[in-house]
Subunit: 378 residues, 4 copies
Amino acid sequence: MKELNVGLIGYGFMGRAHSNAYRQAGKFFDLSYEPVLKAACARSKDKIQAFADNWGYEGVETDWRKLVERKDIDAIDICTPNNYHHDIAIAAAQAGKMVLCEKPLSMNPAEGLEMVEAVEKAGVANMVWYNYRRVPAVTLAKLLIDQGRLGRIFHYRAVFLQDWTISADLPQGGTGLWRLDAAAAGAGVTGDLLAHCIDTALWLNGPISSVTAMTEIFVKERQHNLTGKVEPVTIDDACAFLARFNNGSLATFESTRYARGHKALYTFEINGEHASIQWDLHDLHRLNYFDHRDDSIVRGWRSVHVSDSDMPYMDKWWVPGLQIGYEHSFIHGVADFIKGLETGEPAQPTFRGALETQYVCDAVLKSAKSGTWQAVGA
Amino acid sequence: MKELNVGLIGYGFMGRAHSNAYRQAGKFFDLSYEPVLKAACARSKDKIQAFADNWGYEGVETDWRKLVERKDIDAIDICTPNNYHHDIAIAAAQAGKMVLCEKPLSMNPAEGLEMVEAVEKAGVANMVWYNYRRVPAVTLAKLLIDQGRLGRIFHYRAVFLQDWTISADLPQGGTGLWRLDAAAAGAGVTGDLLAHCIDTALWLNGPISSVTAMTEIFVKERQHNLTGKVEPVTIDDACAFLARFNNGSLATFESTRYARGHKALYTFEINGEHASIQWDLHDLHRLNYFDHRDDSIVRGWRSVHVSDSDMPYMDKWWVPGLQIGYEHSFIHGVADFIKGLETGEPAQPTFRGALETQYVCDAVLKSAKSGTWQAVGA
Amino acid sequence: MKELNVGLIGYGFMGRAHSNAYRQAGKFFDLSYEPVLKAACARSKDKIQAFADNWGYEGVETDWRKLVERKDIDAIDICTPNNYHHDIAIAAAQAGKMVLCEKPLSMNPAEGLEMVEAVEKAGVANMVWYNYRRVPAVTLAKLLIDQGRLGRIFHYRAVFLQDWTISADLPQGGTGLWRLDAAAAGAGVTGDLLAHCIDTALWLNGPISSVTAMTEIFVKERQHNLTGKVEPVTIDDACAFLARFNNGSLATFESTRYARGHKALYTFEINGEHASIQWDLHDLHRLNYFDHRDDSIVRGWRSVHVSDSDMPYMDKWWVPGLQIGYEHSFIHGVADFIKGLETGEPAQPTFRGALETQYVCDAVLKSAKSGTWQAVGA
Amino acid sequence: MKELNVGLIGYGFMGRAHSNAYRQAGKFFDLSYEPVLKAACARSKDKIQAFADNWGYEGVETDWRKLVERKDIDAIDICTPNNYHHDIAIAAAQAGKMVLCEKPLSMNPAEGLEMVEAVEKAGVANMVWYNYRRVPAVTLAKLLIDQGRLGRIFHYRAVFLQDWTISADLPQGGTGLWRLDAAAAGAGVTGDLLAHCIDTALWLNGPISSVTAMTEIFVKERQHNLTGKVEPVTIDDACAFLARFNNGSLATFESTRYARGHKALYTFEINGEHASIQWDLHDLHRLNYFDHRDDSIVRGWRSVHVSDSDMPYMDKWWVPGLQIGYEHSFIHGVADFIKGLETGEPAQPTFRGALETQYVCDAVLKSAKSGTWQAVGA
């Protein structure tokens, strides 16, 4: 079996999720490449060494530029805060490495476009980790849509609701809290959470043509962990937008970290002429499906427990009725990335695919400022 | 239009539900008889007068024997505690009145058999108010079974769970509490709650051949409202039994008033070779349905919102999506009873039909005493 | 007991719901006025006579102007298409009648303002039938908010989704379909469905300051039942808008008749600093409640079955666990209207209260045309 | 770190689940022993080699007696059909190995008792893999009960429903189907599925004193894969029983493989004086909790999403809102077993603990034959 030698940058939540995925993929999927955890990288030697020891990385680096240059590494996996994506990805591509990048692709479309051009120029495999595409129930939704079961699409609606920043005592910035710091994250919920919703929506329902948006900062100032001072909050705490898709359907999107009672409530619903679909991350192993063509007296929303072996990815796991969890979406990502290497059909989204989400996010943030509808696009 | 002159005995919970039903049925259903509330009857003149005034009864009686003899009354409706059912029903039948009797039919099968014989000998229309048959979702369940959608039946399970008698401070006996007094009620949850479950089960799944049961009294003594003394509790607080149906299926039944969190959780489920059905009184306007013949990737439990006009009874009510409630099951009962008068096909269950439930209850209570399986039957 | 002599105009869905409510209210609520169904009115003599016979109206009229002038009538109830509300209400007020008007108040704010001025000048009791305020679970939501349980409000979201106009074969206009005819309805889902959502929102969360909206017509032409010709559809099939409330919270609203799988899915959710609330018309007897102050290990969304006697209105109905339905919201409306007569504190919303919803609808429709944010208000 | 050298017997569903657990436990839990996959064992050299290669076992054995004797192995993990548990466990204990055994412990109590005596005499660590105790929501249930939140317990009810053997074309016996062969499995659903329900029940609610049961074989004959002939089915397809616990509570238990629509629906509910708990394997990451002490107007069943870091085991996984799955219960089993080695407080259930479930199963099967109540016990 061929080796896929991985160098991973970052040791946070995503660093763990990816490392686990590399270890697990080959145990459950027949893959022609075996991921090898060559090196983990972060500025803090102590922290990255502990991380590497736990996950079985052969070594560590403290300078990502060194990692990118190592000859024994095939693929660079970027799990850093967003403001590092651009430089690392381009350097990695230029060094001839495959690049796997956490979402969102970039701080803004301009950066993203440069990243796309870099990987395409270098001809290296690339992928952005929009992991929710690979939750089996979501993959099933895509399958049902591609089968034409829904007919003409009228409506799409998605929310991603959290409640972890309601306390005004929560600081911003620094380890574990960089998502609250615009300098590191680029945006707030728009880039962190709505980016997921948008990626899924573009995949399931095609391009978005225009949007009108509003954003809000509910807690205006917070202690900043990097400066030690109370500073204005500059990320968007909440964002909602209306959208029109190219296929004529209408959409609403909303995200917030101030929705008491919701930890990670990512839900989407799509209403078609004949059938509708709903999904909810809090019960990610189920897909709700309604088909108007059912006999009317037994017509109703079906709760499909996505655990049988004829469901996407599920032949690789346990037996019917037994659910998998969040982490498996990343394992599927590794499997699909390697299948893409085998077949030449790259796992989605590539950098170019993920750039589309950046354009939508950009239009959303512009609209929130201008108060007007914004066309989406380059 | 012909009149159906009603004399009703009792002014409690069921007296209200029936009175409302008589008033409402003709407004929503096309009926060839108009119920006329001729007289309400109870020992307390003050209470029955207030009741009659509220519901529009033309007059009152304080002696049920007088009511039964009145020439201007066509039908006697018995809403008394169970220990009066037998005498009133037989006297009414002998006086040539139609008889509508609240469930359970009787204190025991022997009484019930005499009641059956009386109404049949008199040739008078008769019905027992097992109202849950006429919740549209339950009627739909019957329809689906009769259509053969389920195939061979393997399992039936039903519970009726309440929690209102957990406090040891609750007294037993007297107005509003006669259901806790064996002298008035005959039995506890078996006659009050399981009788409902059994009636539905016999209707949906045919005869029960044998049972094994257990009962329990959790609070052994309570203040008795009629005597003023603390007395032993003699009703069954809880009862569970296993059963075998004639069709070869197995069943579990359980009822209690000590299931914290459940007010009136009557649920049943029936599992067939091809399809299964679930219903829950707490959401009585829904029926859950699973059909194994669905395409496997969209197979799941369907939550059918029983509100469209092609659902049983629902063409008479509002518009799709708008639910009806508990009281409507009684309105349907009046409508069906009158339709039975029109067509000669009596509304179910008649006294004879309801006697079957008495036989099962009797076998259950005997088994709970003997600790052995009991055959069901005369 | 005093009489409340009612003259009702219209015999459609709402005519039935109101007539039932007048008949039922006094049976369940202690009221100092007894509604008397004096006359029903519509242009078609045959139809209104049949309606009057069914519901027990003493007589009929075929000209609403005559009805309004009758001395023996205290209150005019308007159940006509929207384009008649204005003229009837003003004439009724000028004739010194109380006026109860189906929602929405008017075709537009200008009409609505004249109606408000008319009833206020005449000093007559008035109410608009926004019935969902009187679903016990919704009334409970208001109570919880007024108790301060939620704390500062961050988010409000509501949808009203239906699917009954998806077929292109459905005609527009005429009996039963006037809601699809802009000339009769004023607007499409905005006035019919979003008006409900907005009324509830204003009641629960205070004034809306500004909105941005989009509308869509999915089926551009339909057979018109009044002209017999295929004509352009001019109502809004779907409408979504973003809103900001005066209290600083953000909102999304959406309504459509093209959401396959939803018959009358009116849901709202409100997220506060400490607690959140959800409600769903398809299970109108439940309220979902989340309280962050619960012990963390048993913290979760609670499904409150609103059927106990300490819940709003529920002491008047059955016993815990037994649900009421859609029609009861109107019965509560009659009871509250009469209580308002008793106490001098009018049932809400009055015409003036309901005018606020017209202003929001107007801003929504203007925004949908202009593509810009619109301030709400006179 | 110390090594825990594992020899595992069997390569089926449980072989995979355990192997994964050994690999994963140390990555998420701080453990003082590192599991080392020394050898996998099965009669088929090819199959066990492929299994060993996939999971990273250092070597293979084809004779379990050899495995048991190997000096380089600390612990024997038994994932064979049930009829091998007894001999392997006793041999392993006599060889001084720790023994981890899949459930159920044994074919019958007599065998089980010998196994208990063997491990206790040898003084070796031992555990039976009743993995559902270690689903975080189930562990939480135990915690809530131990905190006394429920008060006096009145009721326990559990079902384990599947539907995979409804087709009469399904053969019995042999690889993948030994659970349908009484010679290999000992019993049908009683040992396979009810054993889980009983183990949980004993853990949560204490000893069961007596039972009455019924069993059924719905498909009387099936092709036997080992003999090639159509043979009588001798396992129980379905089993239901009533039970009384020592603490005075009543219970119903039911299991079947003929409940259409349920793949692995293991649910339990426990009703206490103050609070109640429900759990469902199909949504294993949630626990439903009802507390009567809540304010009555916001009292309802709470759906607790067991994903926060203060939930059992969940500090080791991802972030709030993100669920884990079935396999994690085994990972927790490895972690707890090793913690037991560290602390000297063995992970539960030990062989002795699991023997209690065998006594209940035995009483259930005896009662199903005799038709009488059976006392539980040695």
